[in-house]
């Protein structure tokens, strides 16, 4: 298991390098020069050249990449061009907010989604199944920024239960978590339902019935356990999906976080900050797949056997 883990982590290195090249390159194709934003209109070309040199923007691309990557690995994410502060500071400020939001939304989606999928599968093709699947479909088809705004309108403005925006209190987390979570819930509920139905049709389940176990015990202890394997796999693969939801929802609820930072720096053409945000999201996605693989190995002895 340990050797597998080490190998699995080492496999992330080339992926990380590939992602970093892509992120580095993409940002250089973005039109709009940050230097222009900093210079006063009508500044002499010498001032511009001096500015380019100061941020290393005058050197060839591969050199810029090498310098950038070298610093990134040491935790130096550069200086934000607009905010004129170390990017790492901005990230360190934003990250906890996004992690809390994303983590809670993931937890919510998993718990509620598995619960709903379980109830739907146990009542296959009867009304609870149809009601849950209908609701889940509806939940997954609303744009998350819109759902967030409507929830804000109803619960914050009309009912006054939660703060409208910001991140000052724990209750300010409720609506954002719900907004992201409902989309994730739909995904999890669907996978759980299908996986349960698929698992319930397997041979060994017939034998469990023939052993005289109660149907509920069979469903909960055996069928659900099997259904959770694909749920975990897909959830881990789509962890970025949750983070993507967080980007929009942070903006809607005016919460500090990676999403807000990303959107803001994108509009200000602040390369170093955008690069850092994307790197963080990429790392989160990679860690997600890693955790997914590990969980899968813990849940399924066949996967463990395949590793050795």
């Amino acid at each position: 298991m340990l050797s597998y883990l080490i190998r699995r982590v080492l496999m992330l290195v080339p992926v990380f390098l590939a992602v970093s090249v892509v992120i580095f390159l993409i940002l250089h194709f973005i039109p709009g020069d940050p230097v222009d934003n900093l210079l006063k209109v009508g500044s002499p070309p010498e001032a511009r050249a001096e500015m380019m040199a100061r941020y290393g923007l005058d050197r060839p691309l591969p050199v810029q990449y090498g310098v950038w990557l070298g610093k990134v690995v040491q935790g130096d994410l550069g200086t934000a061009i607009v905010a004129r502060r170390p990017v790492a500071d901005l990230i360190v400020q934003a990250l906890p907010h996004s992690l809390r939001l994303g983590g809670l939304a993931l937890l919510f989606s998993t718990v509620v989604g598995v619960g709903l999928g379980l109830v739907a599968a146990l009542n296959r093709d009867r009304w609870p199944d149809k009601a849950i699947m209908g609701g889940v479909l509806l939940g997954s088809t609303m744009p998350s920024f819109w759902l967030g705004l409507i929830l804000m309108l109803v619960f914050s403005v009309w009912l006054g239960w939660f703060p409208v925006s910001g991140a000052r209190s724990a209750s300010a987390l409720v609506l954002p978590v719900l907004t992201i979570g409902l989309g994730g819930t739909a995904l999890v509920a669907r996978i759980t339902r299908v996986a349960m139905i698929e698992a319930a049709g397997r041979d060994f389940v017939t034998l469990l019935h023939a052993k005289g176990l109660s149907p509920l015990r069979i469903q909960l202890r055996h069928v659900l356990r099997h259904a959770l394997i694909p749920v975990v796999t897909i959830l881990a693969l789509r962890i970025g999906w949750i983070l993507g939801g967080a980007v929009t929802v942070e903006v809607v609820f005016a919460r500090p976080g990676l999403g807000t930072l990303l959107i803001k720096s994108l509009s200000q053409h602040d390369y170093p900050v955008v690069q850092a945000c994307l790197l963080m999201l990429a790392i989160a996605v990679m860690l997600g797949t890693l955790v997914g693989d590990i969980l899968q190995a813990l849940m399924d002895p066949r996967v463990r056997a395949a590793m050795e």
Binding site: F204, A210, L213, H222, I229
Partner: protein
Amino acid sequence: MTALLEVSGVSVAIGALPLLDGISLSVRRGQILGLVGESGSGKSLTAMAAMGLLPLIGGRVTAGAVRFDGQDLAGMTEGQRRALRGRRIGFVTQNPMTALDPVQRVGDQVDVVSRLHLGLSKSAARARTIDLMAQLRIPEAGAVAEAWPHQLSGGMKQRIVIAMALAGDPDLIIADEPTTALDVTVQAQIIQILGSLVRDRGVALLLITHDMGVVAQICDRVAVLYAGRLAEEGPVGPIFAAPAHPYTAALIGCIPQDGMAKGSLHGIPGAVPSARAFPPGCRFHPRCARATPECTRDVPPLLPRGVGSAACFHMTPEAG
């Protein structure tokens, strides 16, 4: 002595589709009944009906009754039926490769039966499991109990499944093609194990198979199923000496003889009709050399013939 399992005139349908038509058979303690037929003839469905597990596959008994130890299954509560399964009726499935839960250690899967039905403690159940596994000639039973299903061979898994069927100390074992998925050498071992269970423990065995060779080897009685109907039923000796039904004769003809090349196995031409397209009259008539216009029109009744019974308008005369 009365029959332990008695299936009388049972018809089964899945949804609106009738699949079994008036099946009757019975097994006593210490006896082995072979239930034979090609795939699609309704053998597994009969087994599911005998265990009261038809709802699992969306099926139901539309006529007749299944009685276990004199009690009608239909008259029991689901809880009572569940108390029979695993405790008094042990089940051995067709494919040991898929019969075990892949994410549970095999020992735990056997333990649960005696813990549930015999109320044994965790350690007592494990001791019983290891004892049973040893009786089934599983080497290093203690270690095997800790193994995952994927670590075991097919024959070993089938022994585990049999141990599971035995763990509740049952009176009846239903084995649904227990050797089909296994190597020839392992097949013989498993058949031998099943035969010795009946001899040593006095259990009743309903052995479902498509192999008349296995029937000849260990069964006391045989019931031949074709397209959801009983073709012939009776003691093995007389039936093998002179099968009354042409289908039985054809199945016996399929047994590979010693010294016969593998390719020369003469199967029966054609295939079992699908339940959606059962032919009228005798369902075997499209594949039958003896078929007459009568066979295409009327359903042959199951009539006594010697010590058994058969359903054919053109029965072969009894031997002797």
